[in-house]
């Protein structure tokens, strides 16, 4: 079984940003993503109204280069004004070409 090592980027952000974040990561080269609904607390206390939903947890498996670009973009545009965090891990996948 040929396992390939790639990066898993997880972004946790206000639900309200979902559409924008998806657009951004696709532009930066992500070939897919998975989102789950989440809730949470961090340094920013309150959040936009309930009607806008809670947080989302967005995962994307990508090459190290794309992963880095995604983090960069988050740092530039989102970290200042929105409730967003992100982290990266190493994962092993099958069919590595699917993600790059």
């Amino acid at each position: 079984m040929a396992l390939v090592s790639l990066k898993l980027v997880t972004i946790i952000a206000e639900a309200y940003l979902e559409e924008r974040l998806v657009r951004e990561i696709k532009q930066l080269g992500a070939k897919g993503y998975t989102i789950t609904s989440a809730r949470g607390e961090g340094s920013r206390g309150v959040r936009a109204s309930e009607w806008e939903g809670n947080n989302i947890r967005l995962e994307t498996i990508a090459s190290p280069a794309v992963a880095e670009k995604i983090l960069q973009r988050l740092a530039e545009i989102y970290f200042a004004n929105y409730a967003v965090i992100a982290y990266v891990e190493n994962v092993e996948v099958m069919r590595g070409d699917k993600y790059t």
Binding site: Y16, S37, A48, S49, E50, W51, N54, N81, Y82
Partner: protein, 322 residues
């Protein structure tokens, strides 16, 4: 019925009591949670139902009867955000961004407060005009746009275009206006077909909604200390000023006791549905603690409990009542 009696009736209505139960649930740290899906469903329902009813009523309203109240509403939609903005900047010493963000909230309308007011006048045998829901859309949208325009002028940047698109495409306004169009096109006949869902259960649904809002408002109250005494005072007094303005203009426009009162309540209320979404896009730097705590933690409970009977008493008085 004197004002005290009105107050009693309002405070002991199932809707207001459900709001109190929601507050209690949060205070005693109950594990009660309204599922997100239910909250969203109720919101969709309420906005669509308001729209449907307004549209169906409008289909039967002659233009001659409608244009004056419509004009009064548009005047309110310009006046109230300006008033809030100036007050916050001058007296409250807020920065441009936060003043505009709060002004957008106080200019627009709280759908639930609107419904509570409509229910109240109905119970008081002084129902408002049928086209009122149309006025909600008429007040909501321009008020937000104006508040954002102010911020943009002062800041000299920002994507107003996208913000305006977002307001119209935003689910609140889309459902409200979409519902109105559906109601208008399918008319009273169409409304009758769906009355068992969109008309009769309306007040009961409000009870569930207010249970949730009570829980949310109680959580917001924890932020009271952060927002400072000025904003608390603002959240209590501004509704009175805007409410009086609304009742007055409505009466001038020839609306009934109930209609003028509901228009006043609309003016007095602060949005926590459409406005936060719009502010989030156009003014992401604004601090949600300010605008959400003021509108949801202070003004909403105030209007729901004391404001509604007060505006009603005022409207009756202006119409020459007791």
């Amino acid at each position: 019925m004197d004002t005290l009696e009105l107050l009693r009736i309002n405070l002991l209505s199932p809707a207001v009591l459900a709001f109190v139960l929601g507050i209690v649930a949060t205070l005693v740290r109950s594990d009660l949670k309204i599922p997100d899906a239910l909250y969203t469903t109720l919101s969709i329902y309420l906005l669509l139902a308001i729209g449907l009813k307004g549209g169906a009523a409008l289909a039967q309203t002659p233009l001659a009867e409608f244009w004056k109240p419509a004009l009064a509403t548009l005047v309110l939609s310009v006046l109230t955000p300006l008033l809030s903005y100036v007050t916050l900047r001058r007296l409250g010493r807020f920065d441009v961004v936060n003043a505009a963000a709060i002004a957008a909230h106080y200019g627009s309308v709280s759908a639930v407060t609107f419904i509570a007011a409509s229910t109240f006048v109905q119970a008081a045998q002084q129902p408002a005009e049928g086209y009122m829901p149309t006025l909600v859309a008429l007040l909501e949208v321009p008020a937000i746009v104006i508040a954002l325009l102010i911020a943009r002028r002062s800041l000299g940047q920002g994507s107003l275009g996208e913000a305006v698109r977002e307001i119209f495409a935003g689910k609140s306004v889309l459902l409200l206006m979409g519902g109105s169009v559906i109601g208008y096109l399918s008319g009273p006949e169409g409304l009758k077909q769906v009355a068992a869902v969109f008309v009769d259960p309306f007040r009961g649904v409000l009870v569930l909604f207010l249970l949730e809002l009570g829980m949310v408002a109680a959580k917001r109250l924890r932020d009271l200390r952060k927002v400072g005494p000025f904003l608390i005072g603002f959240g209590l007094l501004m509704p009175l000023v805007q409410g009086a303005l609304g009742v007055g203009l409505g009466s001038l426009a020839g609306m009934s006791v109930g209609g003028a009162m509901v228009l006043g309540t609309m003016a007095a209320s602060a949005s926590y549905i459409a406005a936060p979404a719009a502010v989030r896009i156009a003014l992401p730097q604004a601090n949600p603690s300010y605008y959400l705590t003021a509108s949801l933690g202070i003004t909403f409970p105030f209007n729901l409990t004391l404001g509604i009977p007060l505006y009603f008493a005022l409207s009756r008085w202006l119409h020459g009542g007791s």
